[in-house]
């Protein structure tokens, strides 16, 4: 009995665990099979769309030729963004580029060197080699400098943000504007110089394609805010009594005409500055101020100018900037 018992007990003991083990084994086996199927499926699915990911990773690596990057790491990040988070591919690439740039100090991906005439895409990062055509006084504290730069293909406005802390440029010199952003402002493209941009003077003389306009036309109208005007001493805006930004200021005198030229086919809004007015009528700012003082009427200047310039033919040469033609030379004919 005893022996039997002894025999039975261990045998019952030994049988039970072996049964359990089998069950566990088969369970794991099933899991393993599922895992294999999963691996197989995931391999399969990643092969279908994975091509893109590989190409994107290569694109990212190419953008940083100086760096040794871990391709697998990039692939993983891409997969996370594209498959897991369903982020658009270009967004994912942009983000990862930014991550890499941050990780490796401030090295930005090389922005391609482009011509101004080729710019067509907003928010593109580009590098431009151009000559500074004009520099304006900034009318806003957050802007360090603004103006126009040009190359053989066109002219574009640039804005250097005060926060960017970049060197100021000079009119007539050529610079390389690295890593600048293309923006659209009031239906016109402009480039913004930001913190990550660089401005480097270059030893080149770039021929600027001038957006010049040459017309023979009649001066058919003088627009308002013409004649002897007052400007805000801080921002040069034409003002009446108050500057919209700087409030009550002691305005400084200036002479200008906003006019319409009409050649029978088109009309051109144009601005004549003091020089142009002087060459046309002999009246300069000093004389205009005298006339206003003599007649105790600032409008006397405008009346006189109207009499001198209206309804006559002119040969006009100017640069078109936005809506207005800035008149460079004007001659009665």
């Amino acid at each position: 009995m005893n022996s039997e018992l002894i025999l039975v007990v261990p045998s019952s003991y030994s049988k039970k665990p072996s049964k359990n083990l089998n069950a566990i084994n088969s369970f794991y086996f099933l899991l393993f099979l599922l895992y294999l199927i999963f691996i197989f499926l995931s391999q399969f699915s990643s092969e279908v769309v994975g091509m893109n990911i590989e190409a994107l990773a290569d694109k990212i690596i190419k953008a940083f030729p100086d760096l040794e990057l871990n391709r697998n790491e990039i692939l993983q990040k891409l997969k996370l963004l594209v498959y897991e988070f369903r982020v658009p591919e270009d967004e994912a690439v942009r983000t990862i580029k930014a991550w890499i740039a941050r990780e490796h100090g401030k090295i930005k991906p090389e922005a391609p060197l482009v011509k101004i005439g080729e710019l067509s895409e907003e928010y593109a990062w580009v590098t431009i080699e151009a000559k500074v055509v004009k520099v304006w006084n900034p009318n806003n504290e957050s802007i360090a400098q603004a103006g126009l730069i040009g190359d053989e293909t066109g002219i574009i406005k640039f804005v250097t943000w005060a926060k960017a802390e970049k060197p100021l440029v000079e009119e007539g010199k050529c610079y390389r504007f690295e890593n600048v952003v293309v923006h659209r402002w009031k239906d016109q493209f402009q480039i913004n110089v930001t913190r990550t941009s660089e401005i480097v003077e270059i030893d080149k003389d770039i021929q600027v394609k001038e957006n010049t306009i040459k017309i023979v036309a009649v001066l058919t109208k003088i627009l308002s805010n013409s004649g002897l005007i007052k400007r805000c001493p801080k921002c040069r805006r034409a003002i009446r009594d108050l500057c919209p930004v700087h409030g009550k200021v002691q305005g400084i005198d200036d002479l200008r005409l906003k006019v319409v030229f009409d050649d029978g086919r088109n009309t051109y809004d144009a601005i004549l500055n003091e020089d142009a007015i002087k060459s046309l009528t002999g009246i300069d700012l000093q004389k205009a101020v005298e006339i206003a003082k003599e007649q105790l009427d600032r409008n006397a200047v405008l009346r006189l100018l109207r009499e001198r310039v209206l309804c006559k033919y002119y040969e006009v040469e100017g640069v078109k900037v936005g809506r207005f033609v800035l008149v460079k030379s004007i001659r009665g004919c």
Binding site: V218, K221, D262, G264, R265, T267, R303, C311, Y313, C333
Partner: protein
């Protein structure tokens, strides 16, 4: 912003042939007998008469070689009004204005509401004649009288003729 209407260069006889107005969008046009839609004009001619029909309303008669137009200036065009007061006929004037067809004591007539007026010289007059003639020819309109005048004037040495218009109008 509404596009500014180009100032057409057309002769007095064409302006005077207008009997109808049409509306195109927000703009009103007078129609010449040749079917040309006219809103703003630029016209140069001899100011022959100036009368103040009412206080602050002046009626002008301005002539080119093809006829004379009737033009009005009123308080609505303060700048033109200011200028008109100082201009004494006869003299050459350049004007811009809009052509309107109005009923006037039972007759339908075209008038021009002036926007600007200024005294001009003979050079401007001849240049305008040439320009208006070219535009007329483009519309396949022959204005022999103006052609003759220009031919005559050409024999005298006028500065404006040195300028090559054909290059500009091709």
């Amino acid at each position: 912003m509404k596009e500014r209407e180009v100032a057409r260069r057309i002769f007095a006889f064409e302006i005077n042939s207008c009997r109808q107005m049409v509306k195109d969008g927000e703009k009103t046009y007078a129609i010449t007998e040749n079917g040309l839609k006219v809103n703003r004009i630029f016209f140069v001619g001899a100011l022959l008469e100036k009368t103040e029909v009412r206080p602050g309303v002046w009626k002008l008669r301005i002539a080119d070689p093809t006829g004379s137009i009737r033009a009005y200036v009123s308080n609505y065009q303060p700048e033109a009004l200011e200028a008109v007061v100082d201009i004494e006929p006869p003299c050459l004037v350049g004007v811009t204005g809009k052509v309107r067809v109005v009923e006037f004591s039972g007759k339908v007539i075209p008038i021009v509401r002036l926007e600007t007026i200024n005294i001009v010289d003979k050079t401007t007059y001849i240049r305008w004649l040439r320009e208006a003639l070219l535009f007329a020819q483009e519309r396949e309109l022959n204005v022999e009288r103006v052609e003759d005048i220009l031919r005559e004037e050409e024999q005298e040495d006028f500065k404006c003729l040195e300028f090559d218009f054909t290059k500009y109008f091709n």
